[in-house]
C-alpha cells in the first residue's frame, strides 16, 4: 500500500505530464511564488505600506499568471515541434496501415464472392463478347480480335488514348524544355546544369556504338513488323511504337544528340504527331459517318489473314505507332537533356 502511495510520481498522468514538458521543469521551478511559512506571525506594518505591498503582490500575481500562460504556450509549441510531431507521425503511419489493411480486407471479401477464375459462365462473358468474336472477322476483317475491337468497334477510345499520350508529351515538353532567353540562347544557369549531365554521357563508347549499329536496325524492323502485323497477330500500334522508340533511344544513347537530331527534331515531332492524329480522326470520322447513316463504306476489308486486309485497321495502327514512338522518344530526350 505504502509502496503504491509513494509511487504517485509514476502514475500515468504524472508520467504523461512529465513526458510532455520534459526539459522545462527548471523553468517551471524558477517561477515559484514565495509563500509565508506556517506559524510565522504576520509582521506589524503601517497601512500605507500594506496597500503598496498589496498592489505589488497583485502586480506580481498578474505577472506570474502571464508568465505561466506564456510558459504553457511555449510548452505546447515545443511539444508540437518535437514529441507531438513524432506522435502525429506514428498516428499517421498507424492510420495509413489501418486504411490499407481495411481496403485489402474488404476487397478480399469481394474477391472471395466473385466467380471462380477461368469460369466460362461469368457475367463479363455476355452477348457483347459473343458478338465481337462471332461477327468480328466478317465486320472488321481482322483476325486479331483485340485489334479489331480497339481499332474498329472501340476506335473512339483509342483516339482518346493517343490524344492522352500526345498531351502528356506536350505537358512534359512545357515542363522540361530548356528555357531560351530573348536572343534564343539557353540561359547561363541551364548551360551549367547541362554540362553537369554531359559528364555522365558516354563519349564514343565503342562497345555501345557497336551494339547500337547491330541492334538498332533489328529493333526498328521488329517494331515495324509488330505494327504492320497488328491486325493478324499479337501486337499493334502501341507495342510496335514502343519497340521502334526503344531502337531510336538506343541510337541516341550511342551516338549523341547531334547525330540523332538529323532525323528527329521538334518539327518532326510536331508534324508526325499532328499528321498521325489528324489522319486517325479524319479516317474514323469517315467510317463513323458511314456506319451511323447506313451508307456504304468504300474501304475494302480484303481477305482475312492477308497483310492488306482489315480495312482501316492497318493505317490506324501505323498512325498510333507513330504517335507512340514520337512520344516515348521525346519523353526520353526531355528527361535526359531538356530538349532535342
Amino acid at each position: 500500500m505504502s509502496k503504491r502511495r509513494s509511487d504517485w510520481q509514476n502514475r500515468p498522468q504524472e508520467r504523461f505530464v512529465r513526458w510532455m514538458r520534459e526539459g522545462y521543469l527548471a523553468l517551471d521551478e524558477a517561477i515559484e511564488d514565495s509563500v509565508l511559512q506556517p506559524g510565522e506571525a504576520p509582521p506589524e506594518v503601517d497601512p500605507e505600506l500594506a496597500a503598496q505591498h498589496q498592489e505589488a503582490a497583485l502586480q506580481h500575481r498578474h505577472d506570474r499568471d502571464l508568465a505561466l500562460d506564456r510558459l504553457a504556450q511555449y510548452d505546447l509549441y515545443a511539444w508540437t515541434l518535437t514529441k507531438g510531431r513524432r506522435l502525429i507521425g506514428r498516428l499517421h503511419v498507424l492510420l495509413s496501415l489501418l486504411l490499407g489493411g481495411m481496403i485489402i480486407f474488404f476487397l478480399l471479401g469481394t474477391v472471395a464472392h466473385m466467380p471462380r477464375f477461368g469460369a466460362a459462365d461469368v457475367p463479363a462473358n455476355n452477348e457483347v463478347i459473343t458478338r465481337y468474336i462471332e461477327q468480328g472477322l466478317a465486320e472488321t476483317g481482322a483476325t486479331n480480335m483485340v485489334a479489331g475491337m480497339i481499332l474498329d468497334y472501340r476506335a473512339f477510345d483509342t483516339l482518346g488514348e493517343s490524344t492522352v499520350l500526345f498531351i502528356a508529351a506536350c505537358a512534359v515538353l512545357i515542363l522540361l524544355r530548356i528555357d531560351l532567353d530573348d536572343k534564343g540562347q539557353p540561359t547561363q544557369q541551364l548551360i551549367a546544369e547541362e554540362s553537369d549531365d554531359r559528364h555522365y554521357e558516354p563519349k564514343n563508347d565503342r562497345i555501345l556504338q557497336g551494339t547500337a549499329i547491330l541492334l538498332t536496325p533489328i529493333l526498328l524492323l521488329f517494331g515495324l513488323y509488330v505494327i504492320l502485323n497488328g491486325h493478324l497477330s499479337p501486337g499493334g500500334g502501341f507495342s510496335g511504337g514502343a519497340i521502334v522508340s526503344s531502337g531510336l533511344i538506343l541510337y541516341l544513347n550511342a551516338f549523341g544528340f547531334k547525330k540523332a537530331g538529323r532525323f528527329f527534331s521538334y518539327k518532326t515531332f510536331q508534324w508526325v504527331s499532328f499528321g498521325a492524329l489528324g489522319f486517325y480522326g479524319v479516317a474514323k470520322a469517315y467510317s463513323f459517318y458511314c456506319g451511323a447513316n447506313g451508307l456504304e463504306s468504300h474501304i475494302p476489308l480484303g481477305t482475312p489473314g492477308a497483310i492488306l486486309s482489315g480495312g482501316l485497321i492497318m493505317p490506324l495502327n501505323i498512325a498510333v505507332g507513330l504517335v507512340v514512338a514520337c512520344t516515348m522518344y521525346i519523353f526520353y530526350a526531355l528527361f535526359r537533356k531538356g530538349g532535342l
Binding site: 499517421h92 485489402i104 474477391v111 465481337y132 468474336i133 466478317a138
Partner: protein, 125 residues
C-alpha cells in the same frame, strides 16, 4: 473463404498489390517512391482485369483456321481495357516525373513535406 481466395489467386494477389501500392502512396515522403506506389497500384489493376478475361481451356482471341465460334476464345474486352490503362499510366507517370524534376530543380529535395514547408515560407515572404 480461404478456399475461394485460393481459387481466385490472381485476383487475390492483385488486391493485395493494390493495397501495398496505396500504403506506399500514403506513407512515403519521397516523390519518386510515391510515383512507384501509384504504378504498383495500376499494375495490380491490369492483373485484375487480365485475370477477369481468362477462361479455362480457351485460346487467345486470334482467329485460326476460320473458327469464329465464341466458345473457342477468351474474352477480348479486358485485354483492350488493359491496353488503355497502360497508355494512361505511361502518360501520367511521365507527367508526374516531369513535375518532380521541376520541383527538384527549384527546392533541391524530393521530400514532399520539406517542399510544402519551403513553399509556405515563400508564400509568407
Amino acid at each position: 473463404m480461404l478456399q475461394a481466395l485460393y481459387e481466385n489467386i490472381e485476383q487475390t494477389v492483385a488486391v493485395i498489390l493494390f493495397g501495398i501500392g496505396f500504403v506506399i502512396l500514403l506513407l512515403q515522403r519521397n516523390l519518386i517512391r510515391k510515383i512507384i506506389g501509384l504504378n504498383i497500384m495500376s499494375t495490380a489493376t491490369y492483373l485484375f482485369l487480365a485475370s477477369m478475361g481468362y477462361i479455362h481451356g480457351r485460346k487467345a482471341p486470334i482467329v485460326v483456321d476460320g473458327v469464329t465460334q465464341a466458345i473457342h476464345y477468351i474474352n477480348p474486352v479486358p485485354t483492350g481495357l488493359v491496353l488503355t490503362g497502360i497508355v494512361v499510366s505511361v502518360s501520367f507517370t511521365g507527367m508526374m516525373l516531369a513535375l518532380t524534376v521541376r520541383l527538384y530543380r527549384r527546392y533541391r529535395t524530393l521530400d514532399i513535406d520539406q517542399i510544402a514547408l519551403m513553399a509556405r515560407q515563400e508564400e509568407v515572404e
